[in-house]
Symmetry: C2
Subunit: 439 residues, 2 copies
């Protein structure tokens, strides 16, 4: 049995958390390889080290004195080091970073990656196990993608060379050795590659919640916990806003069918959510209710004499040109809508609209920028005829207007668009209607 | 007041029908311009003249003796001529066609167009009004589209020159004078152009049903008649299978907001369905329930590392390449489906699938060729919150499994995909649930 463990920022926020991490690792000798995030918030007024590092870089870039902010980062690490009575390991690391800051020779990626780097240095010293730099394990191509073959090979070699090690999350390196970053929250993905490369039996992702809940605990009081979930369901839930782990976490795990468990560093005894390929059939009808506010629907009426397919292609090429991801394409006879996330379109919105209006394939264009998308996810939904109807009836009973519906063939979800103002009410109504129902 | 009247094939199937047409035209002097189809079936075992003309051309093409079949066509016209005691008008027309058949110098388009041509010749002689050949009025470009500007100009001139006339439907001419055809049922469109070019106040489309019904009378016994309907609703109903008129009929009418009335030659007293831009608000919740069997859904899972938009574009380009119209694109997170009409894909299906499977943007492809699409259409649906949910609940109550749902923003319809075997049951269930409900 081999387990890879990833600890999130809140699990490394202070010395108390480091102690919990150590206890968790000592309690099970199969937990041999560890990935860490940078220290996160230990209480609400705290800052995440990664945010402070980005801010430091902004100071450097605009030639504003960065010392005060960088010192606050340094103090945080040194306090943990002191509280844990670790023999000084970080002093010379900080000296190196400070000299690079001083002559502005550090890249943003490298500076930001130091959060995880120092975190891993601290934990490896505290545990007395090897440190392995992820710059030598996770290989990126120049277009920012992981070179999976090279990465898995490096990890397999490191695993052969070290019985145990701690590795920083969030980054790797380009072929020229420079630091490359995943997107925010990407330490989860570092852990997935480590689990895959090490051929782990389980990837434990330790965080500050005891797994996934059927709905967002910020919206629903004390929602039901999801004990087991399939890869597909997790993808749907994460993508649509259940922000427990990075939405791409399971991609590297799926080929080898490595299960992923979400666990709580503060309450290991509570157990968590186990994510695997197949899950038992006899369980709840609805696995989860999630969603996000802030979508825009652009509705196009095709020009006369133009095929609908030609019009759709012309429109989608404009979105491709502006590199704006398209979420849904509800289609009617002469018209179709394109639904995009507002935040992903905003920067180039006016150019986008101007270009779309110029298309000869389009007769008219209308906009609705008040759309929240709800996803009701459940692999058992298809087994019970009438579930879609019952889900949509809930909106009717609560007088919530439906702006769009998308349910594909044999899908495990149904997507419903409502006004942003109706979002919380809709989640509540759906939870009330379906939380207890078993199949 | 100026009315353009189009009479369909069943209204010209025999002498009795011609008499009804004459009575209708004489009863209202504003009915000045008339478009006719070729004689259709007067009873079930009858043939449509147009079908027989296509068959004659096949005989000619494969050098099989065509005389018997062509003579049956000739007999039909001559019997009507004789029954109506019209002074011989067709003998020399037939002589001309037969000489062209004899030396095989007639094109398929020209031969087929003679159905409407002879029908119009007969009716103009019977009414004693001018005949105008649509070859000189309806102008096609070489890519098979109507040159609207030239067409409207020619019609305006003809209207100036003739107080009344009868014109054949279904065809026009290319710039070189050769005969060009609309798609089957295209006489409806000929009438629309005539109404537009003549600046008519109303376009009456006379057929063998007293307008549109809320559902197909072949499925629902004695369904409720739709008295008024908007252009948009009609488009949706026609497109999805309510085959009363050609789905493109209203396109030329919309700009000038010319209303269209569907009327029954056999029962003018019953009134029909009036189609116009805006219709009164206080009416039924659901305007119509329609749909078609025979769709295929191809579901694609995008390849890892490829954007969903890129995958959708790659897939849609293949459909474009094979010129297969795409009806719906239900989208999920990593996957999306493309729904097409089976009949429109069948011929090139294996090549299509082979090309789609080659796409590097696609990880996997699955097919479901057992899909019927139902459309519930109603401009008032958006006004009553909860309608979508109630519609879908009907499927649940009847244990009909929903394969896909598509409802766009501010749409006047909701599209639901079910098994072909569930189609009739679903139409019945929806009709029972909604036929009486007013808003």
């Amino acid at each position: 049995m081999l387990k890879v463990c990833k600890f999130g920022g809140s699990s490394l926020a202070n010395a108390e958390e480091f102690k919990k991490v150590k206890a968790i690792l000592l309690s099970d000798p199969s937990r041999r390889y560890v990935v860490v995030s940078a220290p996160g918030k230990s209480e609400a007024k705290d800052n995440k080290v990664t945010d402070l590092l980005y801010l430091t870089y902004q100071h450097l870039k605009y030639h504003v004195d960065y010392h005060e902010i960088f010192d606050s980062i340094k103090k945080r690490y040194l306090k943990i080091e002191k509280d844990l009575q670790i023999p000084s390991a970080l002093e010379k690391e900080f000296a190196l970073i400070e000299s690079k800051l001083n002559d502005a020779s550090i890249s943003e990626e490298e500076l930001v990656s130091r959060g995880e780097y120092l975190s891993a240095k601290l934990l490896s010293a505290y545990l007395g196990v090897d440190f392995v730099d992820s710059a030598s394990l996770i290989h990126f191509t120049y277009d920012g993608k992981v070179d999976e073959k090279a990465t898995l090979l490096s990890i397999a070699e490191a695993v052969k060379a070290h019985e145990r090690f701690v590795m920083p999350g969030f980054y790797g390196s380009y072929p020229n050795g420079k630091i490359a970053l995943f997107s925010r929250g990407g330490s989860d993905i570092s852990g997935s590659y480590l689990a895959k490369g090490a051929k782990a039996d389980l990837y434990e992702n330790w965080t500050d919640v005891s797994g996934f809940y059927m709905a967002d605990p910020k919206i629903i009081k004390d929602p039901r916990k999801i004990k087991e979930i399939s890869y597909d369901e997790l993808r749907e839930l994460s993508y649509m806003g259940a922000n427990v782990i990075h939405e791409e976490t399971i991609l590297p795990l799926q080929d080898e069918e490595i299960p992923l468990e979400i666990l709580n560093t503060n309450h290991p005894e509570e157990g968590g959510t186990l994510i695997k390929k197949a899950t038992p059939d006899k369980t709840h009808l609805i696995t989860g209710i999630t969603g996000k506010k802030g979508f825009i629907a652009l509705t196009f009426v095709k020009a006369k004499g133009v095929g609908k397919l030609q019009a759709i292609l012309a429109v989608l090429h404009v979105f491709e040109h502006y590199d704006i991801p398209v979420e849904h394409i509800p289609t009617s006879i002469d018209s179709f809508s394109v639904v995009v996330e507002k935040a992903k379109a905003e920067e180039r919105y006016y150019d986008l609209i101007a270009d779309l209006k110029k298309l000869p394939e389009v007769l008219s264009l209308s906009e609705d920028d008040d759309i929240a998308l709800l996803a009701v996810v459940g692999r058992n939904m298809v087994k019970k005829t009438g579930t879609s109807g019952r889900i949509l009836s809930v909106f009717g009973e609560k007088k919530i207007n439906i702006k769009l519906i998308d349910q594909g063939r044999e899908e495990i979800n149904i997507i419903v668009g409502v006004s942003n103002a109706d979002f919380v009410g809709a989640v509540n109504a759906l939870y009330d209607a379906f939380s207890g129902e078993k199949i």
